[in-house]
């Protein structure tokens, strides 16, 4: 398929391990995971429950400290020997990473437009420009007609597309999705996958999605299988 010819990987993990607890209660959630994801790739993380998929996503998203290993994002060494190389991980997330949740997790008190615009505002964009860009993104994801709706009034598919718009707001090149289609029927799941594909191609982005959804396996460029914290 497309993609893996780009020279520099957007995500590169080297010997990432993560354990929770110590002694009796120690859980090894990730063991020496190394992988690379290139621009324009849409990859899947697969594995039984408890195999470490979410943990891996959280490490890549810089919201969980790994116990060992190194990581490069977009060519920048952000983690070396389990030590963050940057003080401001929030800024790093804001600049490089977009999250799509299993359930859309839109803020219930903001309408569709502002749910997207808030991300831009947090990054320092003034509100008028943020809203303008938010509406463009909603149009791009074909939910522009629902731009003034509150999240509780959106259908599951619409809400998920608004959430994807939000993940894209800062033009991140790494998009992490935890079961983005779990709450959708197969037709809508297909639409969302098409969208992610379109994103990867048009924005030169890498998309890493956790999924259990066998219907969409054939839409990924690459599938990483996890078992007991190890890549197979």
């Amino acid at each position: 398929m497309t993609g893996s010819d780009s020279a520099i990987p957007l995500v590169r993990l080297n010997g990432i391990s993560k354990h929770f607890g110590e002694g009796e209660t120690r859980v090894d959630a990730l063991r020496e995971v190394s992988l690379e994801v290139f621009p324009r790739q849409v990859v899947a993380l697969l594995g039984p429950s408890g195999s470490g998929k979410t943990t891996l996503l959280n490490v890549i998203g810089c919201i969980l400290d790994p116990s060992a290993g190194s990581m490069e994002l977009d060519g920048e060494l952000v983690l070396h020997d389990a030590r963050w190389q940057r003080g401001d991980l929030r800024r790093l997330r804001l600049d490089k990473i977009g999250f799509i949740f299993q359930y859309h997790n839109l803020l219930p008190f903001l309408d569709a437009t502002d749910n997207v615009a808030v991300v831009l505002q947090l990054a320092g964009v003034d509100i008028a420009a943020a809203r303008k860009r938010a509406v463009e993104l909603l149009d791009y994801l074909e939910v522009g007609h629902r731009k003034s709706a509150m999240p509780s009034k959106l259908s599951g598919g619409e809400a998920q597309r608004v959430a994807i718009a939000r993940a894209l707001a800062n033009s991140p090149r790494i998009i992490l999705a935890d079961e983005p289609t779990a709450a959708l029927d197969s037709r809508r799941a297909g639409i969302v996958m098409d969208l992610l594909r379109k994103l990867a191609v048009e924005r030169d982005a890498a998309i890493i999605a956790v999924t259990h959804d066998e219907k969409i396996f054939d839409r990924f460029d690459r599938i990483f299988r996890l078992r007991d914290g190890r890549l197979e």
Binding site: L57, I63, L107, V118, L122, A123
Partner: protein, 377 residues
Amino acid sequence: MNLAYRDIRHNLGRFLLTCMGLGLLLSVVLAMIGIYRGLVVDALTIARAPAVDLWVVEANTRGPFAEASRIPGDIREAVARIADVTAAGSITYQTVETEYQGGKLRLYVIGYELTRPGGPPEIVEGRDIARSHYEMVADRSTGLTLGERVQLGRNTFTVVGLTRHQVNSGGDPAIYITLPDAQKLQFDLAPPAARVQLARGSGGASLDTVNAVVARLHPNASPDATAETIQRWKHLAAITQEAQEVILSRSLVDRARRQIGLFTSLLLAVSAVIIALIIFTMTMEKLKQIATLKLIGASDRTIVGMIVQQALALGLIGFAIGAAIIVNIKDYFPRRVILEPDNVAVLGLIVIAVCLLASGLGVRAALRVDPATALGG
């Protein structure tokens, strides 16, 4: 866009209901503070009314309010002759019950000498007493109106003037009549045996008995020094105005004051806990949203700001509602409720401090929440 405001607007009904509940609670706190202030001020009103510097009373008493005091009426002349005294007047105080509009009316009767200290401090309607008999100036809280006639003892008095806020420490409204009328009333109402004795002038008792002689001094004179001079006279004690006010607020209403004071503190503590709980719950309900905000790049400052702004909004609106309620109903209380701006301001500051403290708890929980929790189901 302001996240705190948007969140409140989204749940406006619920937020306002919470504010309303808090407002009612704070109105009770304000009422208690007002009742407390009212009690203290009421206790001092009668003692402040004659605007004097010195109280001459019976020896070994702390009269005429805290203890009974009876002295001969001619003491006034002796007091008036003291060098530093500019004016002196005899006063009687007695509580009388009379019939009024089919019910009982308790009155605190003050007898004074028309041209001397001891009369009503301020007439808000009508005029001062002009004739030496059967006229009275009554406090508005008696319910009496100008021109009304009231039976006291064997005589009928006409209301010629009205005062306001003149009540004794027990809350009984005051009326003023002339000293001779008051002495006659005291005689009429005395038990028959005592009356016979009084009429004979035997046993040292005389009709010309008063409860206190009050005196105004030269502005430069020392009340303590003059009091000392009078102390040396037999059968008399002298109390400065300052000491009289201490006696009134410390011993006369001390229990009631402490009772209400303690209850007010308790109420404040309860309110503080309730405010803290409301704000803490408000934050806990939003933990998932806060995790989401963190994940999409909100700084700790943004999150803290949201919680603190909401807490302050709740506190301030609740306080405003509470203040509005109490200002509108305070005149319906049977006794005075006094809200002084500084008391209200102090409560306002306490509410703000509690809100900030309580949001501190919420903030702690919010800052600890792992952004990863937003990712899960």
